[in-house]
């Protein structure tokens, strides 16, 4: 690996971490689309900053662009507050206009400088190592590495300092307000961090990938955990994993780094979406199938409990009585036998002691709906969960 390759992967990883932290809170606050708005509408801020400083990594440019990001949020909220349009419409109105102002500014004035729409949309991560930071003539690494490193340091500092405030105001803004943690301050704090991170990452990965790095890792982590701290750690992990894998994918395909990282992010999400242990599509389908079987079993046991007459309990006529297909009757019968819930004498089915007790408990639960009675049964059957 050349030093340029290491530097690119390092920058991509730091960008991924910086994005995952605010991204987690944006996802939980159902504000994913606002990051899309910010990432596009900071363009005029970047362009104007670039005209002034002629340097994509200058602090003034980052400041100007971040201010544009905050203005976007304020504009969206102002339009929404009038009650004339909904939030998603307000977002859809604001950011294309600001973005296109940026596009026009570039086209009019920047023909002879290194700033074009392609770079803005997809970033130029491959070129990042060429722009070095020199201090008294000594090369101390790529500029964008220092910029994103600095932003990440501040983001982590803020996260540690205000984790509790972020958590309470995201979960329950009403309580946060009544406790004296102004949700407005935290909201605009988060928006500022998101804007600054977006600007810092913009040069490296462009407007589209910034959104992917903010939202996809957090959305993936959300499917895997029920703990906020873990969600943050997983999101960071998925972000870094995708950044590095994406870089090598681009290397072998000889394709855009930003595009490859985004593709990997999408694939990682898809994998987790399908295979996550609890919330994944397959787990949910499996659980539903289990539940159907268990409801059938319970119906069957209830039928046996309610009917003493042998004619209702003959093994070959069960399906007629509870109106099931033969196959289903057979599988339920086997399940009950396997669990020692029933016994067979001369093709007449009857409940065992265990089956009888289980059925009584289940009826009690269904009638009283009291949780205490069901706690023990929950371990054996999905039916009573959730």
């Amino acid at each position: 690996m050349s030093s340029a390759q290491i530097e690119i992967q390092l920058i991509a990883s730091l960008v991924a971490i910086s994005c995952a932290i605010p991204g987690t809170f944006l996802v939980l606050r159902k504000m994913a689309m606002i990051s899309d708005a910010i990432s596009h509408s900071i363009l005029p801020g970047i362009v104007i900053g670039f005209f002034i400083t002629q340097d994509l990594n200058s602090p003034l440019l980052i400041l100007l662009a971040a201010i544009t990001g905050i203005i976007t949020v304020i504009l969206v909220e102002y339009i929404q507050k009038t009650g004339l349009v909904k939030e998603d419409t307000a977002i859809g109105l604001v950011f294309p206009i600001l973005f296109s102002i940026g596009v026009i500014l570039i086209a009019k004035n920047a023909n002879d400088v290194h700033l074009d729409v392609d770079a803005v949309l997809l970033g130029e991560l491959a070129f990042a190592p060429f722009d070095r930071l020199l201090i008294s003539g000594i090369d101390i690494g790529p500029k964008s590495l220092w910029v994103i490193g600095f932003i990440l340091l501040i983001t982590i500092g803020l996260l540690f300092a205000f984790f509790k405030e972020l958590k309470v105001s995201t979960f329950d803004p009403g309580l946060a307000a009544s406790l004296g943690f102004s949700p407005a301050i935290i909201h605009y704090g988060l928006m500022t961090v998101s804007s600054v991170t977006t600007v810092g990452a913009f040069d490296a990965v462009g407007a589209i990938l910034v959104v992917a790095l903010m939202i996809a890792p957090a959305a993936t982590a959300y499917l895997l955990t029920t703990d906020l701290k873990r969600m943050l750690i997983y999101a960071i992990g998925f972000g870094v994993l995708s950044a590095i894998t994406g870089y090598w994918l681009a290397h072998y395909l000889d394709a855009s780094i930003a595009g490859s990282i985004t593709t990997v992010l999408g694939l990682v999400f898809l994998m987790v979406y399908l295979f996550a242990p609890n919330k994944g599509v397959i787990a949910v389908l499996y659980r539903e199938k289990q539940q159907r079987t268990e409801v059938s079993l319970l119906t069957f046991l209830l039928h046996l409990k309610n009917h003493n007459e042998e004619s209702e309990r003959h093994v070959n006529h069960l399906n007629e009585h509870i109106n099931w297909q033969k196959v289903r009757s057979k599988s339920v019968l086997d399940l009950a036998l396997k669990n020692n819930m029933i016994q067979l004498d001369d093709n007449i089915v009857s409940l065992t002691e265990k089956g009888d007790e289980f059925t009584s408990q289940a009826i009690d639960y269904i009638i009283t709906n009291e949780d205490a009675q069901i706690e023990d049964m929950k371990d054996d059957f999905f039916l009573f969960r959730g």
């Binding site: 009650g83 958590k167 329950d172 009403g174 309580l175 307000a177 406790l179 959300y222 029920t226 709906n369």
Partner: protein, 245 residues
Amino acid sequence: MSKKIAVQIDDLTVAYNYKPVLWDIDLEIPEGVLMAIVGPNGAGKSTLIKSVLGILKPIAGSVSIYGKPYEKQRSLVAYVPQKGSVDWDFPTTALDVVMMGTYGSLGWIKRPTQKEKKAALEALEKVGMLPFKNRQISQLSGGQQQRIFLARALVQNASIYFMDEPFQGVDASTEIAIINILKALRKAGKTVIVVHHDLQTVPEYFDWVTFLNVKKIATGPVKDIFNDDNLTKTYGINYKVSIQE
């Protein structure tokens, strides 16, 4: 009765987009009452609580808690929002939600310690939810979620409790558990203010009542003012409830 006034509301007017939802409310809530706020949908019951707690900004009027503005008395007040106002899929546990009640006394930046955790566990115990402390909140029933909210208010160890429909969507056993806790709070000298929907249970649960419908209709002891006349004035139809003597 020369009781202290816990909450004093003067000329309070609150508007959403210039449409008043509360109009010129004057209300004194004496210390130590268990009070229901009743009124039809859109009467401004939740708005009244939120304005007292500084969550909404009134366009006129003032509120004081034991004679001082709310901002100076936060530590004396606990709040139970409507259960539906939060996302129960949020990645957190029952214990963690109750811990949030301690954040107010901690202030900015400081983190909860073992002391706060112990207080939260005690509050969970009081509402009978200790066995569920590590359960993810979406895995709790509606009644259990409401108990968690109640525990979160208890952990604040306040003097005044504001609760927004704590009985909404809970089963009978939780309703009894909650009302017993509210009565225990009153017994301990606390003031409890509850937005309440079920008129039938007002005389049984509460000793004080406020009728509200954009304007204040009446406020006072349940035995004096909970009658067909005030109900009709509040709900606008000829309302009759049978009150068991």
